[in-house]
Each structure stands twice: as C-alpha cells, then as structure tokens.
C-alpha cells in the first residue's frame, strides 16, 4: 500500500468499521453485503485479468459481454435471495451494488428489476400477479417498461400508442399510429426483453380513457424473434449507459388478451365497459417508487466517485509552495478540500435523506392500501423535487471530483467519466429536472394558499405557516 495512504489511515480519529456499519444500516447489513460481494466477485466468468477492458470492445461485443455477465450475476444473486425475503431486495440499503463490479456500465437487466417487476407488483390484480410475478422473478420472462415515445415523454396524455378493445374477440389491439408513437428509450427493450409493460391510450366503446399499462409479449420465448406485428430494435450509442440496451418499439395492430391490461386499479369488462380507478393517482406508484430509489442511487455514486478522488488526492503530490520543501499532497490544498469534502458529505446527506424518503414512501403506500390517499400528493411532491435536486447536485459534485483529479480524472480508467455518465442520465430519466420541479411547484402553490388561510398543513410544508402570517 502506498505510504501516503498508510499515513493517512494512521491519522484517522475514529473506528472506520463503526462508520461502515452505520452506512450499511448495522453490522448485519455489512456482513450480508460483504457475503454477496465475496460470492459474486469470486465467481468464475468475472474479472478475468486477461480480459480486454470493456472500453475497447465494439458496441455489439460490449452488449454481449454485459448480457453474459448479467446472467451469471443473476444466477448467483438468485441463489442468495432464496434465503432472504424477496421484498428486502428492493430496500435501498439492501440493493446489491455489486453489479458495478461485474458490468462497469449499466446492466441490460436494469429495467427488469427496476421497473417491470415493481409495476407488476403495484398495478396488477391478484390473479395477474400470481401468473406473471413468479415468471418475472425467476427470469422465465424478461421485461422492461415502455412508456416514453419518440414524440412524447413527459406529457403522458400526449402518448400516441393506442390499445383499442375489441369485445368480439375479448382482445386489445395495440397500435403505433405514427413514427412519433414508437416507444423510445426503455432499457433492455432492444434485444434483451421478451415482454414489456406498454403504456397506451385505452379506447373502448368508442371512448378514450387515457393512458393505461398493458402486459405485452414482444418476442417469441423460444426463438427470441420479434412477434408478427412488433417492430423492435436498438436506438444506438448515447452519452453514457452504453450497455443498457435502450430500444425502440412499434406495433401494427398487435392483439393481446383483455386480461393483459393491468387491472389493479382501472378495469375493462368483457363487454368493453370501463370501470374507473378509485384514484387515478395510484397509477403513478411505480414512478414514485423509482424516484425514491434514485436519491440513494446517486448517494452511492457520490461515494464511489468520492473514494476515487480523495484517495488520489492523498497519493498525488504537486507544486512547491515553500522553496526547498517537498511537493505537498494535493489533499493539503484548501481549494482541493473545498472540491472534495462537500461531495463526500453530500453522499452521507443524500443517503440519510433517501432512507427517510423510503420510510415515508413505505408508510404512505401502506396507508393507500387501507384506502387513505391523504398523504399521496405530499409524497409525490417531495419525491419529485428530491429526485430532481439530488440527481442534479450529484452530477455537479461528480464533475467536481473529476476536476479534482486533473488530467487523470479524464481517463476512462479512472472510472470517473463512466460514473459521470451514469449520474448525468438520472437528471433526465424518470422525470426530467424542470418538469419535476414544476410538479412540486403545483403542490407548493396550493400549500401557500392554504397557509395564508391559516389552515392545517402537512409536515413538509408546515414551515410555510409561520412565514405566511403577514398574508393572512
């Protein structure tokens, strides 16, 4: 070990293991995480030292390598998860970050566990769940979530894909009426998934009832060929996320059974009668869930980038501010500390805030299950702005970490460019920054009005009351 780091570690005034356990949510958390890491990273097929680094592979080879590794990883994690509660895997503290030790960039299965499975959990009725969930959890089917289209993303009501109910055959006809109606972006859609949740405008009895989710098989499970009436492919290279296998998808009057509409909330009966959801906001559950997790995801990326930049800054020596003295470690420059320590602190701040948000989410979802929707608007508002601000701040901090490493931070082998690409993407996906901020603003405007009227406020906006006295 480099002498500078040995000295630095001797200087540390606290027990590092105590902080490790705190970050892992307890000693047990650390033990489990390390168990998974040992299991995965010692497995055959990964981290072969003679392997060509991913950066030198072609686009196609890189995808194939990512799939190969993701499959081995899944097998290992599946065996491990069999001993644990399935839902535990979704808790932010238990998310197995070890994936990064296997695939440098993003796993093509990211959307399978990140969106496909949670949507089935949140939006299918009990019969649908018992049919689809076991297959999805065992990778008997591989899925993704196809919402965004070439022509519309944020504006859900503008989506063009249609699902028209045909009572004579009890089927929905899924159709992309134009080029801009093609689904565009879903991870894993291009060549990985054989099923997906398609969000489409529901038409029945000549009426449009807005966007609803449908469970759609797009490829043959034996041959993996696209089914007739399905046009699917890859969208090409991006700023980052090269192995995410983002795809496009179009339909030509493609038929699916009536029961493939996810029916936990709204339903279409055999005769085509539409039964409205008790609360339309329930359908946003998956989006809120993913936004909640993004806060802890970016906290983790800050930890990775912070570790790289701080250790490098302890090893790197530069300049000679005092003649005759050795070059100091760059970590001793206050401008360097200013660049680094706020990023490291931000990782801790976002982690604890993310866990608080997860707890709030779990509580609200439990209440929603009992029919109490009162806290849903507040949760939606806070999840929107936290996802937006944390992702944008994290990207700025990671860029600062990269700058703190000078020219070497620009090297792909520093991994800072890849981390930068991953975090920059979070500003846009699952709700673009400005759009999410405006969603929160709608809640704030209503809250301010309530505050000026002296009404009781929900916890996160209760502070407005004391500042609205003069307006009352």
């Amino acid at each position: 070990v480099c002498g500078d780091l040995v000295k630095e570690r001797k200087k540390c005034s606290f027990d590092v293991q105590e902080l490790v356990h705190l970050i892992d949510g307890g000693e047990r958390g650390t033990k489990e995480r390390r168990e998974v890491e040992n299991l995965v990273l010692s497995a055959e097929g990964f981290n072969n030292k003679d392997e060509v680094p991913e950066e030198y592979l072609s686009h196609k080879e890189r995808y194939e390598n990512a799939i190969r590794k993701a499959c081995i990883l899944y097998e290992i994690l599946k065996k491990y998860a069999e001993k644990h509660d399935t839902m535990d895997a979704f808790k932010p503290s238990n998310k197995y970050r070890v994936t990064f030790g296997v695939v440098k960039d993003i796993s093509p299965f990211m959307l399978h566990m990140g969106m496909f499975v949670p949507t089935i959990l949140n939006q299918s009725d009990p019969d649908q769940m018992s049919e689809w969930l076991p297959k999805a959890m065992s990778m008997g089917i591989i899925g993704t979530y196809a919402q965004t289209e070439l022509g519309h993303g944020t504006f859900l009501r503008g989506l063009e894909t249609t699902a028209t109910y045909d009572p004579s055959t009890e089927e929905f006809v899924i159709h992309s009426p134009s080029l801009t109606a093609y689904k565009w972006w879903p991870g894993g859609l291009a060549h990985t998934a054989n099923h997906c949740i398609v969000v489409a405008q529901l038409y029945t009895k000549g009426e449009c009832y807005g966007v609803h989710p449908f469970f759609v098989q797009i490829r043959d499970t034996e041959t993996h060929m696209p089914l007739p009436g399905v046009k699917v492919g890859e969208i090409g290279p991006k700023m980052g996320f090269q192995t995410a296998n983002n795809g496009f998808l179009g339909f030509e009057h493609f038929r699916i059974p009536r029961r493939n509409m996810l029916m936990k909330n709204a339903q279409v009966l055999k005769d085509g009668t539409y039964i409205k959801s008790k609360n339309e906001k329930l359908t946003y559950g998956t989006m809120v869930f993913v936004r909640v997790l993004i806060v802890t995801d970016v906290a983790y990326e800050l930890a990775r980038a912070g570790t790289i930049a701080v250790r490098y800054s302890a090893v790197r020596h530069q300049s000679q501010p005092k003649p005759g003295e050795p070059e100091p470690q760059i970590l001793d420059y206050v401008t360097q500390q200013h660049k680094l320590f706020i990023g490291v602190a931000t990782s801790h701040i976002f982690r604890v805030t993310g866990y608080w948000l997860w707890d709030s989410y779990s509580k609200v979802i439990k209440d929603v299950g009992k029919g109490n929707m009162d806290q849903l608007p507040e949760l939606h508002a806070i999840a929107c702005c936290l996802k937006a601000v944390c992702s944008r701040d994290a990207a700025a901090r990671i860029e600062e970490f990269r700058l703190a490493c000078g020219g070497h931070g620009y090297m792909a082998s520093s991994n800072l460019p890849i981390i930068n690409g991953i975090v920059t993407a979070t500003i846009t996906y699952e709700g673009e920054y400005t759009v999410l901020m405006l969603q929160t603003a709608r809640f704030l405007v209503k809250a301010w009005k309530q505050a000026t009227m002296g009404n009781a406020m929900t916890p996160t906006v209760s502070y407005l009351v004391k500042f609205s006295k003069n307006d009352r």
């Binding site: 801790h348 090297m411 991994n415």
Partner: protein, 190 residues
C-alpha cells in the same frame, strides 16, 4: 426572526428562502392572471420563479431532514465518530448557506458579518475533516472491483495502475500500426 449562526438557524434560513420564493412565485402567478391571462399562460410566465421556489423548498427539506438524521446517528455513535458525522452535516449546511448567501440576504435577517463568520467556520470544518478524509471514504467500504478505478484503489498504486491499463490498449499490441504504411508514409513521401 433574528438570525442565528447555528445549524438550526441555517435551516430556518432555508425555510425563509423557500417561503419567500413560494410567495413571490404565487403572487407573480396571480399578477399575470390579473392582466387577463388564462391560468396556463400565467403559469408559463411565472415558471422560472416556480422552479426556483421548488428548489428552495427542496433545500429546506434536505437540510432539515439530513441534520435531524445525522444528529440521531451521532447520538448513537461513539465519542470518536459522532463529531465527524456532525462536522460533515454542518459542512453541508454552511456550504449551501454560502452558496445561497444572496437569497439569505433577501429573505432572512442574516448580515454580512454573519456570512463572514460562516465562511470562517466553513474553513475550520475543512481543516477538521482533513485528517479523517481517507478514513471517511474508506468507510464507504467499496471494493476495488466495484470502484473500477486506476486512481481510487485501496492500495493507492495510482501510477502503476495507470500504466498497466494504458498497456491494455489494443494499439499497444504492435509497435507500428498498419496505418503508418497505408497512410502516413505515403503522405511523408509526397
């Protein structure tokens, strides 16, 4: 409200900014409406202020929740670790107070002297955190395979790793690339 140069004072300051910006955006929205605009156009015209209000609200939530959580963790930690957790939490608060000093001057009772004191405290915190910097990132406990970095590995063999990785470039597999004979040499011979 009298300004306090303390973590809870800063959190109140962020709440004051959020309330002030929300009020300004709300009033702007209604002023546009009063000119005869419909709500959607008024919303569009006020949207820059509305986004600013949301950001301020979010910072008020992050500062208040994270301070509360970090204090809770510090309370349950050893006497050696507790101050480090509080130093990081305070650094975060002061960093953002200094970043948003203009807003604080507009919406709270902070003074230039208070800001100067915050700057001094910020520099003190950097110095306090300095000896523990490597220990703090070691505690993220991220294995080298997951860091995937020539610069950040636990052993600090930065320069050796940079060279090892450079040598993996396929261009280094042969001393002369075929492009020399195909393109460079003919160009040089012209």
């Amino acid at each position: 409200v009298a300004w306090e140069n303390t973590p809870s004072g800063i959190i109140s300051g962020f709440e004051a900014i959020a309330a002030g910006k929300t009020k300004a955006a709300y009033e702007s929205l209604h002023n546009y409406e009063k000119t005869g605009m419909d709500y959607e156009d008024a919303w569009n015209n006020a949207s820059v202020q509305l986004v600013n209000a949301s950001e301020a609200h979010c910072r008020a939530i992050i500062t208040s929740v994270s301070w509360q959580e970090m204090v809770r963790h510090a309370t349950n930690s050893s006497p050696n670790l507790a101050p480090v957790l509080l130093q990081m939490a305070e650094l975060y608060l002061i960093y953002w107070a200094l970043e948003k000093r203009g807003d604080l001057l507009m919406y709270s009772t902070i003074t230039r002297e208070d800001i100067a004191k915050l700057q001094v405290r910020y520099e003190e915190l950097l110095a306090l955190l300095r000896p523990n910097a490597v220990g703090i990132v070691d505690a993220f406990d991220i294995r080298d395979e997951i860091l995937n970095s020539t610069l950040g590995a636990y052993d600090g063999r930065v320069y050796e790793r940079l060279m090892e990785e450079a040598l993996k470039s396929p261009l280094n597999a042969e001393p002369v690339n075929q492009s020399f004979h195909k393109y460079l040499k003919p160009l040089m011979m012209k």
